[in-house]
Assembly symmetry: C2
Homo-oligomer: 168 residues x 2
Amino acid sequence: MGTPLPRDPIADAQRNWERHGWGDVAAPMAAITAIMRTQQILLARIETVLKPFGLTFARYELLALLSFARSGALPMNKASALLQVHPTSVTNAVDRLEKAALVARSPHPTDGRTTLIELTAEGRTLAKKATAALNTEVFGKSGFGPDDVDHLIRVLGTFRRDAGDFED
Amino acid sequence: MGTPLPRDPIADAQRNWERHGWGDVAAPMAAITAIMRTQQILLARIETVLKPFGLTFARYELLALLSFARSGALPMNKASALLQVHPTSVTNAVDRLEKAALVARSPHPTDGRTTLIELTAEGRTLAKKATAALNTEVFGKSGFGPDDVDHLIRVLGTFRRDAGDFED
DNA sequence: GCAATATACTAGGACATCCAAGGGTTTGGA
DNA sequence: TCCAAACCCTTGGATGTCCTAGTATATTGC
């Protein structure tokens, strides 16, 4: 966290794998570990930018999703599916966003089982501001070159489809 | 979670970004979101493999790190730095590993402030077994082609260095 | 030598994620 | 028609991560 290490710990791990006779999976291990660590760094950056807005990444994602829904409202289970998180995580996020008056729960008109989440006016405004901040502070300064971005989108897209995220 | 979506939600988000006039950061946004989601998928796979061993990824990482230390022991702060996690997370992991008799705390011989974490015999055995399982079940079936693995290691390595993880 | 600063670990709290279980609602087949 | 299966959401419990604060030990400077 604080001081940079003298050497890349993941490269060291890769060498350890090779040294122990696991050379055939050393490279994938390093790639996967690098993805884990990169996610950690990116999440920290995102949360730092969102903190002044009183948002976490999970809550921001929900706000952003709602702001793109044509009606500004979505059933909980749809949100869960689109965000690819457990339904209980959505319940948790909605609880907190509702306390902050950024979203509101309302019953589904025809299906008594489902609950609709609707963006409030404040919620829509905050989503806009937070998105602008993320665009300039994180996405606009990703550090990835254009070619690398395209490659990541393609490779990780294939991975996610193979993992069963979507059919396309 | 269960059923695949008909379309890639991240590609949809990218289109939404472009539609709202944020085309200049739409691609990095998609790449970053894909990294977040890929990490989630990989973590779930890893935890599934580790569950039978009574381990989580955090605890496994600590065990693996100790198993590669020449003496089989490391100070807490070293472990925290090498794993790139907060010191309190290491305390948490050590607490649970110690309860399971996989590691043991011992005082540092010369520095009364530091605590050494040492692998027990069972800990070393379990680390071996868990690593073998991860190698065959996760790293050996990553789904990334060799060229993609190399590219990921290079691109994410540059990113992590620029983020201040290491100097190299 | 002693005070001030730095370092190492731990305790408590806030969040997020998942799983298992429970209660209400809808649907579809006997 | 009616009841069982399927579905939707929530609650409670376990884990992990971070932050802030507190305690104990080392090191530095006067």
